[in-house]
């Protein structure tokens, strides 16, 4: 009898995904698939609830080739991610209800399942398995974005498989220095294996210079695909960081840089989904920075930030997706004035924008403040951290600028594009409504954010109080300063106009420069190999001819020797033997 409590809940989603892939096409069967897409995450959440017992649960142990793998570990950290992924899986399922696409359904399920299973894996090898599975299953979502997305999907896949390989190599090195222990706990950067794993995670969660795949691939995926993609991969990587690299100082600086640099790209970008991808990167920076700080307050902030971030980021992607679904584009230059046609979507988008910008009473207000406060508390011991805190504040204002204002403004207000379209489909509105409600609820001062606190891993003796007068005022000052800056820039026509254009990001180096170098090397190699082939063939033919001349029946070495010659040879051999016998010692 199988003990269902031994089974990683993510596997239920993967199983559902496989069933989805087998369900035939057709209207009626599409409903079956949709039922699976929405039902499987709920089932997984129920299983997590059943298995989790307020302390660490280790289960699903299997031994392969002398290695004991712990395929299931649920504790107060991984539990948060598990519930979150289930929740967002349901919301995504509702959002994509109208789409009758078998590939999207099954790959979304497998992808979400792999992310959940990865989060619940208790050892590095299991993690590696699901790490790669998320990459492989999610690339189909990108490829559903059409012709344009194919190359981006390949680049995405290449980078993520590389990340998995680094993870595996790092895991093996780490386990070797660690006495063959593959358990996934604190890793640190004291060992080479630790560094390799950090780089692998860095690729997945978009460290500076490793981030390009995100802005490259996410905007090119299908509408539902982008929404699904934005939720899982990077957050799984954040989980891995939170598990293995708590309090690693370098993460503070990486995180700070991550929060700041996407701001500038986001301001000048025209494709709104790409703007959101940059802002996703920026939000991840806050989490990385918080993990680098590593105090209990910071970690609580990170966990809370992850939870609300997934919801409001999905909400933003969903609203832009809904616009794209109706209008057919997400380019700022071709949108505008849509609040008349899509008022409900506009409201949801504004809630999402307010959440990401951390307006009081909206989601990120509580959690982002926790992270920044944690940095400032730590700065009492390390004054350098004030700079970091400043960077984070700047980034907060920047978020307001590009996600909080730019996205809704250019989509729903601004100059009227003259488009008159229908409101978003009902299922999308339901999904967005759910997310929007959560955004409000999780920051609700009277009983709302306390629910979020309940999920956080550490019980602080003095829980962080977000709704103090000075904090609310400070935050409002910051936000209104950003708004007035936006207004002034618009007024004096200094704000970067929404224009079609390509932005050169760091990925230029590998997409253009490295490609050029590789092409050049390839061309040179072709020429070189042509020459070497000619030389080689000549040499081989020459050697073959020589050998043939020597050894063929007519050749010098194979002629049937006359008896006399053989006799002389015999005598020569005798002399040789006697020489050896007499003179060699």
């Amino acid at each position: 009898m199988i003990d269902f409590f031994q089974i990683n809940p993510g596997l239920w989603l993967i199983l559902a995904g496989l069933i989805c892939a087998l369900v035939p096409k057709g209207e009626a069967f599409a409903l079956v698939r949709k039922a699976l897409v929405i039902g499987a995450p709920i089932l997984a959440a129920v299983m997590i609830f059943q298995i989790y017992t307020s302390q660490e649960v280790l289960a699903g142990k299997i031994t392969i080739g002398g290695l004991e793998l712990t395929t299931l570990r649920i504790d107060n950290l991984s539990m948060v991610w598990g519930y979150l992924f289930c929740l967002i899986g349901v919301i995504n399922g509702i959002y994509g209800f109208h789409e009758k696409c078998r590939i999207t359904d099954s790959s979304a399920l497998i992808y979400a399942g792999a992310a959940i299973a990865g989060v619940f894996s208790g050892d590095l090898l299991t993690l590696f398995l699901f790490w790669e599975l998320t990459a492989i299953s999610s690339v189909f979502l990108i490829w559903k974005g059409g012709e344009r997305a194919y190359a981006a999907g390949i680049r995405y896949l290449a980078l993520h498989v590389l990340s998995g390989v680094l993870l595996l190599a790092g895991a093996i090195l780490f386990a070797n220095t660690n006495g063959g222990d593959y358990t996934f706990n604190n890793i640190g950067i004291d060992t080479l294996g630790g560094w390799l794993i950090l780089i692998a995670i860095g690729i997945k969660c978009g460290f500076p210079f490793l981030h390009m795949w995100m802005q490259d691939a996410y905007p090119k995926a299908s509408i539902t695909g982008t929404v699904i993609l934005s939720a899982f991969t990077t957050k799984m990587a954040i989980y891995a960081l939170a598990r293995g690299y708590v309090g690693v100082d370098i993460l503070i600086y990486i995180g700070a840089v991550m929060t700041c640099f996407p701001v500038f790209f986001a301001l000048i970008e025209n494709d709104l989904r790409r703007v959101l991808a940059f802002s996703l990167n920026n939000q991840l920076g806050f989490m990385v920075c918080g993990i680098g700080i590593g105090t209990e307050l910071a970690m609580n902030g990170v966990v809370g930030q992850v939870f609300v971030h997934v919801i409001f980021k999905s909400l933003l992607f969903m609203s832009i997706g809904a616009v794209m679904y109706r209008v057919g584009t997400a380019k700022a230059s071709e949108l505008g004035g849509l609040f008349r046609s899509m008022p409900i979507t506009a409201v949801f988008c504004l809630i999402g924008a307010g959440s990401i910008a951390a307006f009081p009473l909206l989601a990120a207000f509580v959690t982002k403040a926790m992270i920044i406060s944690a940095v400032i508390y730590e700065a009492a011991y390390n004054p350098g951290l004030y700079v970091i805190a400043g960077m984070l504040l700047f980034a907060s204002a920047g978020v307001m600028e590009h996600s909080g204002i730019k996205v809704p403004y250019f989509t729903f207000f601004s100059h009227d594009s003259g488009r008159r379209v229908k409101e978003a489909p009902l299922n999308m509105l339901v999904a967005m409504g759910l997310a929007a409600a959560l955004c409000i609820f999780l920051a609700f001062p009277w009983g709302g954010y306390q629910m979020l606190y309940a999920l956080m891993p550490y019980d602080l003796p003095k829980p962080y109080k977000p709704y103090t007068v000075d904090h609310v005022v400070f935050q409002l000052q910051l936000l209104f300063a950003a708004i007035s800056a936006f207004c002034l820039l618009k007024k004096f026509k200094l704000y970067p106009a929404e224009r079609r254009g390509e932005i050169l990001d760091f990925d230029w180096t590998y997409r253009k420069l490295c490609l050029g170098i590789t092409t050049w090397i390839g061309a040179m190699w072709t020429r070189l190999s042509a020459v070497t082939t000619r030389v080689r063939n000549k040499a081989i033919a020459g050697a073959g001819r020589r050998l043939y001349q020597m050894f063929s029946p007519a050749g010098a070495m194979s002629e049937s020797a006359p008896s006399g010659l053989a006799a002389a040879l015999t005598a020569a051999m005798l002399i040789l033997v006697l020489f050896f016998v007499y003179f060699v010692r």
Binding site: F551, S563, L565, A566, A567, L569, F580
Partner: protein, 512 residues
Amino acid sequence: MDLLSLFPAWLLEQGPAFVIVLPLLMGAITAILPSRTSAWWVCLIVTLLCTVTSFGLLLQVYSEGTSVYTMGGWDPPHGISLVLDVLSAPVLLLIAAMAVVTTVYAMPSTIAEIEPKKRAPFYAAFLLCFAGLMGMVVTGDAFNVFVFLEVSSISTYALVAMGAARDRRALAAAYNYLILGSIGATFFVIGLGFMFMETGTLNMADMSRILAELDGGSRVAKVGFGFIIIGLGLKLAMFPLHTWLPGAYAYAPTKVTVFLASTATKAALYLLFRFTFTVFDPSYDYVIVVLTYLLTGVGVVGMVFASLQAIFQTDARRTLAYSSVAQVGYMLLGIGLATAAGIAAGYLHLLNHAIIKGGLFLAMGAFWYRFGITRLSDFNGLSKTMPWTMGAFMISGLSLIGVPFTAGFVSKVNLTIAAADKGWWWAVAIIVVTSVLAIIYIGRILLAAYFGSPPEIDGEVVKRNEAPLMMLVPMWAMALLSIAIGSNILDLGDFFVTASERAAALLVGSGA
């Protein structure tokens, strides 16, 4: 030992003499038998009896140790003794068994290859050759070795010459072989003369004892050793003294080729083992020098050269003949290593190669028997016209290359390990290289046979024409035996490996 109890005591007691005397006597009688069929039957029965006896003797040696039989009751060193030990008994069985196999095969093949009136003398000469080889292996008297060597050699010259009925070049080959074989035998007997001068005895055990007392002996012993090595080297086709071999193998009647390839050179190799490790001893400076530098040297050079020669031959029989020279190189390398593992590997390759090359030449004879094929260019599509024969050829060929699960693999791996153990990595490299060369020369035959299409004659594709059953059975016996050794079916692999290890232990132990 249950099997041993099945043999009558008198047979085992008189066995060593029986296996020599019976074929000698019956050879004389066979020569005057009127009909071919009766001669074949006599030959078959004699070889069968000798095989059974040899098997019994082998079991006896394994259970009771070395046995010494004194001819006519004269004790050694004055009388002639017949000595059977773990070194000689397996070779004895090998020779007897190969004689049976080739005799079965000879029933159809001689009809095609030998003129009717010469068939009874053919069998008679074969029995004499057989008796000589058995005597070479079983005798414990050095001069007696020479006598039996000449008995086998002279009858072999006649046997090779009988191939003239199918190819006149057999005469030249036989003449060449006669000259060189005689030189070899002469060198050998000159060497024995020196040894008699040095030790005053011809009995091998006695000679060994006296040499040890003299601490290797004077220059006379050294010269004697040199002559013996060269004499035996000629007989076992040591490179570059192999020039007689390709012609003799290529043009002799198939039965003779098979028998020569799998036993005559092997008996000479047995004598090389016997003389270098028991009569002489590697602990003498001059012996180990010759082993390390000369035998190893000519062994590896021969491996490479003869393999290259095999690649470029146009006559498939000559390809196999040169391949034999190359394989002798492996055995010489094993001897040259002079370690227990090396000797065991060389000895194992001796046994395995007899089986492998026997199978190959048997199939080759069948190709000639049905289609007159000897040239490589005529092998196209043989897998369709003679699938069973070609199948046996392929298995033995793969075994020659050293493909896993075949006999060739076992001995080559053992040899490689032995060389590596001694730190002779260059030898390991050469073994690998020559195995690749073997892939080429066997591969081109297999490629033509399996991927070519059968030729058309008068617009019609040549029809399937399988070899007769009496040819198929021996060649498949060899092929299956080769697989059985390689895959250790019926524990045959272990049996062969153990036999070689025991022989090596005897040789190394006697030196200690």
